[in-house]
Symmetry: C2
Subunit: 328 residues, 2 copies
């Protein structure tokens, strides 16, 4: 089975571009709906940060370090490197007696406009705390302190990453098909789109015990702090706010998006094969509308999917459309 056409870009009366992909909705019993090929193997990238954070909570490391919901949200975040993010990650490291140099995520210019402007105009280089994954890495360091592992916590055979892989394979209910080095240097484990949706359905239907407790706490942290999971103007933050904190969504590089809806007991995962953000943000919006999780009147729906595309003079140039058959 090949990828399905999910999102189209129209200019005037003509189709200009299109985004193909795979999407799966699952509940506690398995696949509910699917488009494209549920079995296709993908890299979840940052969309699975709540899975990568499971050992942090389940091991007791988070409680031992006294982490609150803000830190748990940051552990699941691809943040914009705004002051609200960097100040909290910096304090978290410092509370552990650690510093920026203990991170292994690398540095990149933050996405946040004010933070970027400040660095750029003062000719200051960004540091590793600006990295969108610095919260995940602070979580890895917290777990590592608990496990007493060595400093190179992103190596594939390090106890931190072995714990992540175990949790990942358990919640996806798959043996990972392989792994790659992520943008932040941590291993990223591959799974099928169905496996990722199954994992999200697990978070939406947490059981008793340490696993269920960790899933409940991580989803609760994400939905309580949407501004920490991404940032102002970002799709994850805007969509979570528009859904009133009842649904967690998370994007990953190369056009992955996942969702967790505890009230409905649903989880989903989607991947746009071309890796482009425009397609994944439009597709997740379409899927959230289809599932009744997002109001069609929410302004973000117009911004990510249904609104007209305009140019530099404000003239209408075209529009995004759901492809026939997606989602219904």
């Amino acid at each position: 089975m090949t990828a399905a056409r999910l999102i189209e870009l129209w200019r005037g009366d003509l189709l200009e571009s299109e985004h193909l992909g795979h999407a799966v909705v699952a509940d506690a019993n398995g696949i509910v709906e699917a488009w494209g090929n549920p079995g296709v193997v993908i890299f979840p990238r940052s969309s699975c940060k709540m899975v990568q954070a499971l050992p942090l909570v389940e091991s007791g490391a988070a409680d031992a370090a006294g982490l609150g919901t803000e830190q748990l949200a940051l552990a699941c975040a691809s943040h914009s490197g705004a002051q609200i993010h960097t100040s909290r990650v910096g304090a978290w490291l410092s509370d552990m007696g650690m510093s920026e140099s203990d991170l292994r995520c690398g540095s990149h210019m933050p996405r946040d406009h004010d933070a970027k402007k400040h660095l750029c105009c003062s000719d200051t280089a960004p540091c590793q705390i600006h990295n969108n994954c610095s919260g995940k890495h602070a979580g890895f360091l917290t777990l590592n302190r608990h496990l007493r592992g060595g400093p190179e916590y992103v190596e594939i055979d390090h106890p931190v990453q072995r714990a992540v892989r175990d949790a990942f394979e358990e919640v996806t209910d798959e043996v990972s098909a392989g792994w790659g080095v992520d943008g932040c240097s941590a291993p990223n484990f591959a799974c099928s789109v169905a496996g990722l949706a199954r994992a999200m359905a697990g978070f939406a239907n947490p059981g008793a015990g340490a696993r269920g407790d960790a899933q409940r706490r991580l989803v609760g942290a994400m939905t309580a702090h949407p501004e920490l999971v991404a940032g102002e103007g970002r799709a994850c933050t805007g969509l979570m706010r528009a859904m009133g904190g009842k649904v967690a969504v998370k994007t990953g590089a190369e056009a992955v998006f996942v969702g967790i809806a505890p009230e409905q007991g649903l989880g989903f995962a989607l991947k746009i094969v071309d890796g482009g953000t425009r397609g994944s943000e439009a597709a997740v919006t379409a899927l959230l509308l289809h599932l009744g999780l997002l109001s069609p009147d929410a302004p973000i729906v117009r911004r990510l999917l249904t609104g007209q595309q305009t140019n530099w003079r404000g003239r209408v140039t075209g529009e995004l459309r759901r492809a026939p058959g997606f989602p219904t």
Copy 2:
């Protein structure tokens, strides 16, 4: 016929993302090679700026205004808004007794790092001269002065755009299937990928008369001033430099790329269906290698296609690959 798989992104040992598209190579007699569907209708966007500049030269307007090769290159450009671009477009307007307010392209932040930093750090808004299409629009204004049209030169029934449409339909040898409003507010006429490749083959095989003369001059201007057609660090500029000024290439929004190789008498056009630049830049590089126009040793080949992808710590994460069957 559907789109062909052209470019793949691999991470570790697994395919992560892929770019589908259509590509056609043509000579003076028609299609030489094709991948995907040569008949699919696309918007050429900025890739057809040399076609949009034909009436400027053929009408005698360019000579009447005393335009040199720099202005002709800028008329075909999607420039970065660097000082070398904005100073020349500003002087061109001023030589005609016109100003920025006569433009109808709208304003956007320039892509050039220094120009962007200057505007950002001084809290200065960009003007229409920073628009990547300001050279094309200065060309429209030059033609318009010659044709004595009204000031709204981007309207579909304005003499400037009627002249553009006539030239476009002649060189593509097609009745345009429709038009849309481009990012710069000018009409953009649709054609098949084969029609766009045919148009480029026409530029590669210019005949006698005003049309051939204009084609020769525009290609010569582009290849003489690759830094004016795009800018430092950009694919068009880098590829033209790497080919020693013997081949003109031009990109357009939503992942279009065209090429003109006069020595070989070849033209080509390609469109990546997802509209993403990564795919079109990799695909044009692959096609130029395939046609023997670009040396595999040129550093830009590694940057756009064959080099390893690295992350923020310089670790290798994956690589782009030509999909099986593309180009050979």
